[in-house]
């Protein structure tokens, strides 16, 4: 009769060793466990008082960003499962440990925005929040060369399904390829480049207006968490690309698929009155080059030129087609 120890040698049941605990990804896990914050413990009263004195354009500018964040955080909380399953399938226990904190943090971000919307602008229902959500199709390149896609609501579920199928296949190379694509879209492009201006817009604006301190604090807390998410994704990609340099093309391919989203500021990022949009556009280049440096890949110079090209930009409010 086969013993349990023969089925599963005892030595194979231990995964955490000093080498893993000395690594960059375990360090992020450890830091995440020290940096826990609680959205319920924040004080929303001053924000509610500030909201009452803001003008309608100011309210609209902020709320078009915050409703995107609330839904976006919920979407990514819901779409992280395949990444966890893939880390497990690749036998990378430190990745599993870190992704457990990653999911918890995305859930906490979702909770923060839901609470803030309930207690400050008193947006409670999906319909009320949808009223502040300009359609992506209203972001248009007047020259017709680029289109802005929906990487969070269309791309992540699609690449997540591919990653789940890869895990089911049990083929290590297939899983690694799909992991690079998923992590590039989520951690590198969405979190690490496209969303970055939104944080700066909210922090800059609330400082300029001397208003909404809890929203600003929430964004700062979230940014601290996002720094770990972004650099987990780039570190995981760096490890996999170093193992198989052919994966680099997959990372560039995913970014290229949503290249259009970077060439101008998107509809929900343009609503706050008085912003220097070119500043945020320039910073996308820094974020993109940082991500490439972290992954150990060569940046696409044509993308850098397109992000910086002042003649390439979107207009908003025009029906597509």
């Amino acid at each position: 009769m086969t013993t349990f120890s023969e089925l599963r040698p005892v030595e194979s049941r231990f995964r955490l060793d000093p080498e893993i605990m000395a690594g960059a990804i375990y360090r992020k896990y450890e830091k995440a466990t020290r940096k826990i914050w609680n959205a319920k413990l924040l004080d929303y009263e001053q924000d509610a008082a500030d909201w009452a004195r803001l003008t309608e354009p100011q309210r609209m500018g902020i709320a078009t960003i915050t409703v995107r964040f609330e839904a976006g955080e919920q979407e990514v909380t819901n779409e992280l499962g395949p990444m966890l399953a893939a880390a497990h399938a690749l036998g990378r226990f430190d990745w599993v440990m870190f992704i457990s904190t990653f999911m918890l943090e995305e859930a906490r971000h979702s909770e923060f925005f839901t609470l803030w919307h309930a207690r400050v602008p008193q947006l409670l229902t999906p319909a009320e929040k949808a009223g502040y959500w300009p359609a992506r199709e209203h972001t248009v390149d007047p020259l017709g060369r680029f289109a802005a896609g929906e990487p969070v609501y269309e791309g992540l579920p699609r690449y997540g399904r591919q990653l789940s199928a890869a895990v089911e296949s049990g083929d290590e190379t297939v899983i690694e390829r799909a992991f690079v694509q998923f992590a590039t879209l989520y951690c590198v492009w969405v979190e690490g480049v496209l969303t970055m201006p939104s944080y700066e817009i909210v922090i800059d604006t609330t400082e300029l207006w001397d208003a909404l301190p809890t929203l600003r604090q929430g964004f700062r807390n979230i940014l601290g968490d996002e720094g770990r998410h972004i650099t987990f994704g780039t570190e995981a990609c760096r490890i996999l690309i170093a193992k198989n340099p052919e994966y680099e093309a997959l990372a560039h391919g995913v970014i290229d698929e949503y290249r259009g989203n970077a060439i101008g500021m998107l509809e929900y990022q343009r609503n706050v009155p008085g912003l220097d949009l070119q500043k945020y556009q320039r910073q996308k280049v820094r974020h993109y080059l940082n991500r490439c440096r972290e992954m150990g890949v060569t940046a696409d110079q044509s993308l850098v030129e397109q992000i910086l090209d002042p003649e390439l930009d979107f207009v908003v409010g025009v029906e597509a087609g």
Partner: protein
Amino acid sequence: MGRRWQCLEFGCGVTISAASDEELVAAVNEHVREAHSSYELEEVVLANAEDEPDPPQPRDAMMGDR
């Protein structure tokens, strides 16, 4: 060993050096705030930092002079 980080803001390229990771994060953010009205995340600074090369030893310098 010291740590260093290069700013990749378009047209910048400044290299910041510091004695420790903690000091590097502070110095990088001072630069990014003053030069680019922005900030850099702690984890991003750490992920892009590298060790300073060892300064040349006196003997190496003498050999380099030959």
